[in-house]
Symmetry: C2
Subunit: 384 residues, 2 copies
């Protein structure tokens, strides 16, 4: 297995991009990544695309080949593969791209994530195809309902408060203010969150990430090629994926995402680090409780003590381990299949010291991308 | 890159499986493959699933994790990845599985393909999300219309007759009679095809593959592991993928699928063979013209002379290069995302001399799986 580096990154803004089409946003992200590394595109040997539901959102499947063509790469005929694992599609596509280069099959590939949700009638209904249609959705549960059950049980068992969850949203909004690509560049207060209407008790509107349009792209290369292309490659120390029981009622513990535990432990081992060595992280905060749960499952806090990290400011910029300096899914936006790639983009900016006012001092960075209610998790560890 | 072998294969019957659910058919295919090699399942290190449109066909995305769970593998938490490239999803998932083992990342993985189409209101409408929604579908073209244009031009430029195309359907139906998993185990005549109603002139009902329910699975292992597990592993000599302009109007020649040309030439080179060395092939005959075009693009015949092969019986069982001894998509059935895996299953049976009355004498076998109107092609070469 060869060392693999990230040599270029690009992303659109995330948000309700009413005036931009699916095709224009992936072009924009891809071109930014190519410009970032200073190549034209014909060097690219394969394309991996993370996308959750082109079919249901825009009535278009087969989008990897579509993207290869509209990116001007059709004449080279390179393999183009779409990967789907619900909102972990981006992370999962990144991992396939990583494997393709690490194995020596390809020297330089692009991994992109994209979702155009605003063209659909009911994006939340589409997102809920990520959970079990026969055992969860059929009885009326959607993703907020599932996470509300998790949040309620966490409160009951560990004393986590609605205010603790609110503080996650407050932190992520504060971080997003300085992220030019974030959907909500606006501070909010704990009172704002507490006063927002319930979506599924105890989760309120401001506990929930939005559904966004957006696309992100990263270019991966072998160490040898990377050194020729740029002075500051960011290395992929590990990229792992794991799964869990699909619906939450079958799990050994509703408050532990075993997919996150498994993927992260394996990643730490491969990278030769421990949770305390992580300097900055992008965590899949689809709901505020998801981030608190992830603190625990990633080993940043003991089970049940995740809320302490947010109470004590440990995950703020300037804290021991800043989480979601981008604003996270909550404030940067959640362009579903793009999110896993967008996380990598933001961590690369941090490791390259290009994060502007959000900059933290970091050598090791971790991304956690989760599919649905935790049946899929992808963990990536990067270093400069 | 290590040598990779196929150690187990399994498949459901293809057809209108009204009394079977999505979940029961993938279980059935997966269990057959495990039984074939004689392992229980916990040995499997990763799952790759080819599926075109779980979202639109059964309102369920995130199906790789669902399949991992319902196959009893959730407790092991192995990575599960869905791959989508329209009706080349199966071939493309197979290729990712192949890469995962060839690279040394995994020792033994399962590649499965599945589609449940009969639960959807309008399966053909779903299938047409494989072509360009903005430049083709929007003006009313669907997949039969696109292939009808190709067929009409082939007739005009090269003198191919409707009767030639009909003979492809007749051959494939004849082969399917002896395939216990085929949807249409019934011979038809050229007159039957010629007398069937037009779908899109010059293509008639009996020129078109059906849309079917079905699932297929193959277990791939490194050479070392394969030798421990079975006496008769089938080796993967090459597995390549290529893309082309997405919609046909942009291509240099509407009558050449460059993705097929590129993928096959690369595969021949890697495998160290020429087209004439192929002893048996499974070809993506979504329409009868698709098979004739593939004869040419794979190099079995010169451009424009594909129809000669069918006229002269060269691709019959007993001919120089038997094609679609399974019955092909036309008569075995086309379970969209399963088809690319089903082709591999049938070729493995041929190479193991387990094809019963369909058996041919073969050492080198080739599978061609095509996405949509040719924007994606996957070519696999197997040998015993």
């Amino acid at each position: 297995m060869r060392k693999v580096a990230i040599v270029g990154v690009g992303s659109t803004e995330f948000g309700e991009l009413w005036d931009k089409s699916f095709r224009s946003i992936f072009l924009s992200a891809g071109l930014s990544a190519l410009e970032d590394v200073g190549i034209g595109g014909k060097e690219i040997e394969a394309i991996y695309v993370g996308n959750m539901s082109g079919g249901k959102f825009i009535d278009q499947e087969h989008i990897a080949a579509l993207i290869a063509d509209h990116s001007g790469l059709a004449e080279f005929g390179i393999p183009a593969v779409r990967v789907e694992n619900a909102d972990a599609s981006g992370g999962s596509a990144f991992r396939q791209a990583y494997m393709a280069v690490a194995s020596g099959i390809h020297d330089i590939v692009i991994a992109a994530g994209i979702e155009k949700v605003t063209d659909a009638n009911d994006p939340m209904e589409v997102l809920s195809t990520a959970i079990d249609q026969e055992w969860e959705r059929f009885i009326g549960a959607d993703l907020p309902a599932i996470y509300a059950i998790i949040a309620r049980l966490h409160m009951h068992r560990f004393g986590t408060k609605e205010e603790d969850m609110a503080m996650v949203a407050v932190k992520n909004h504060r971080n997003a203010v300085h992220n030019p690509r974030a959907q909500f560049r606006k501070e909010i207060s704990v009172e704002d969150v507490m006063g927002s209407p319930y979506v599924a008790e105890p989760l309120k509107v401001l506990d929930c990430a939005p559904l966004s349009d957006g696309a992100s792209a990263v270019i991966l290369a072998s160490e040898e090629v990377a050194k020729k292309l740029c002075d500051d490659p960011v290395y992929i120390d590990a990229c792992t994926q794991a799964s869990d029981y699909f619906s939450i009622q079958n799990r050994r513990d509703i408050l532990t995402f075993d997919a996150v535990v498994r993927a992260s432990r394996k990643a730490y081992k491969i990278a030769g680090i421990e949770p305390k060595d992580v300097d900055v992280a992008e965590i899949h905060d689809s709901f505020t409780i998801t981030e608190i749960l992830a603190y625990e499952d990633l080993g940043f806090a003991k089970k049940g003590e995740g809320a302490n990290l947010i109470r004590e400011g440990e995950t703020e910029i300037g804290g021991k381990i800043p989480v979601n300096t981008s604003g996270g899914l909550k404030a940067c936006g959640h362009a579903v299949g793009a999110t896993g790639i967008r996380q990598i983009v933001d961590l690369v900016l941090q490791l390259r010291c290009e994060a502007g006012k959000r900059q933290v001092n970091a050598e090791k960075a971790l991304a956690l991308n989760i599919g649905g209610s935790g049946a899929t998790a992808v963990v990536t560890i990067l270093s400069r």
